[in-house]
């Protein structure tokens, strides 16, 4: 017993080192598995508040570009509206029931954005207070950004599509084949689409969209266009490089998507 205590006292620094290293390694390993890195996260009040303070300063420099983007989106939406026929929209009777639609969009502002690491996360300034919950989709007017992973009272962390843990169902716009969207960590403008069956007919420049096979994203949200493609080693699937519509290094405002039917679908699945 005496010897054990002597050993502990003699090596106390080394043991402390091992303890701290183990804690750090546990955090690291957790951060490499999806949905488990809750403990060390920038959604806490200190870093969240500091980041939103920093953003409120740097926000002014992007106003012109942001305006331009909003004008373009407005133009786009107006065109869609006129295609639907403005009359039917204007005369629609609005009450609390007619607001009930399959997907609800909430705007949020990006206050921190990474794109140079292997596992990238985005911090947005809406949280549990605004009824944001994990597993909601996040998009911009151009295309998808990622999925809410972790929320606090005022902030949420989005697991970006530029993250090695992210897997999103996506498919071709012109046919119904679909695969999963991953990122190999190299170029922040290019993501990879796997497991599209070889029967699919592909051309460079074809559009890739979300496929609506999960409750996270509705069908038909843009992702990008095919930059190049090749068959995998045993020639059963295509591996496709997808050039994103979004410039992931330049994201200002985003929308979170809440699906009305998510609980109904989940209870059916279980």
């Amino acid at each position: 017993m005496q010897q054990i205590i002597n050993f502990l006292i003699k090596n106390k620094r080394f043991l402390l080192f091992l303890l701290l290293l183990c804690i750090a390694l546990i955090f690291t390993i957790q951060s490499h598995s999806y949905h488990r890195s809750k403990f060390v996260s920038s959604t806490n009040f200190l870093s969240g508040a500091l980041y939103s303070w920093q953003h409120s300063v740097s926000d002014y420099f992007g106003l012109k570009k942001e305006n331009q983007r909003l004008l373009e989106e407005n133009e786009n939406l107006r065109n869609q509206l006129s295609a639907l026929g403005v009359d039917s929209v204007a005369t629609k009777y609005l009450d609390t029931l007619s607001f009930d639609k399959p997907y609800t969009f909430t705007k949020a502002r990006v206050i921190k954005n990474d794109y140079s690491k292997i596992d990238n996360y985005i911090l947005i300034n809406k949280g549990e207070k605004d009824s944001i919950v994990p597993d909601m989709g996040v998009i911009t007017d151009k295309g998808i950004i990622g999925i809410i992973e972790n929320t606090s009272k005022n902030y949420s962390r989005v697991i970006s599509i530029l993250n090695s843990n992210s897997r999103i169902n996506a498919g071709l716009k012109k046919s119904n084949q679909y695969g999963s969207l991953i990122w190999n960590g190299k170029d922040p403008n290019i993501v990879q689409l796997e497991t599209i069956p070889r029967q699919a007919i592909l051309r460079e420049g074809d559009t890739i969209i979300t496929h609506g096979r999960s409750t996270i994203f509705p069908k038909g949200i843009g992702i990008g266009t095919i930059a190049s493609y090749k068959l995998n080693q045993n020639k059963s699937y295509y591996l496709i490089d997808v050039k994103l519509f979004n410039d992931m290094s330049d994201i200002g405002f985003v929308y979170t998507i809440k699906s009305r039917d998510i609980e109904e679908i989940k209870s059916l699945e279980n």
């Binding site: 402390l16 701290l20 750090a24 955090f27 690291t28 951060s31 490499h32 996260s41």
Partner: protein, 168 residues
């Protein structure tokens, strides 16, 4: 609390803020960031309580991790270099470390440079191995370690020269 302790605390806070709000967004050539917050570990007093030093370094790394959403990679890297700092000091400064007469502000350029290289390289190897965490990307680990180390070492040396204290 004496003046030196206060100086170290202020340095800790300033380095964290600079790292988090400026240097994490540089992304030179797409992926290179200097990690100069290690200056705190480099400049910590020679005769500091080693247990306390380990814990402070761990906390420093953890704070950087918290802001960068990187799990525990900076915490691990900081703990490792804090633990190996005596070894690095002894191998670079030799006898003058044993007698605890080393002051980083008045050693020669060559010795200081060797010390910074040793510490920064160790830090970056641990950091990027854990961040990428995949042996099939070993080339990427080496590439990132080398280029980022170069970047960090240059900026660290500049900072050490520019903010040198002339008293003492």
């Amino acid at each position: 609390m004496n003046r030196d302790t206060l100086l170290h605390i202020i340095r800790f806070i300033v380095l964290v803020l600079i790292q988090v709000f400026i240097l994490n967004h540089i992304n030179f050539l797409g992926y290179l960031n200097p990690y100069i917050y290690v200056i705190f570990i480099l400049m910590a007093p020679i005769n500091i309580n080693k247990g306390l030093f380990l814990v402070i370094s761990f906390m420093l790394g953890l704070i950087i991790d918290m802001f960068g959403d990187s799990g525990g990679v900076h915490a691990a890297a900081c703990t490792v270099i804090a633990f190996f700092r005596p070894v690095a000091l002894r191998s670079v400064f030799g006898l003058s470390y044993e007698f605890q007469t080393v002051k980083l502000s008045n050693v020669g350029f060559g010795e200081r440079f060797a010390y910074v290289i040793l510490m920064v390289l160790t830090h970056h190897i641990v950091l990027f191995s854990l961040e990428i965490f995949n042996f099939s990307h070993i080339l990427l680990i080496i590439k990132k370690t080398l280029f980022s180390s170069l970047f960090t070492i240059v900026i660290t040396m500049l900072v050490l020269v520019l903010f040198r204290r002339n008293d003492s």
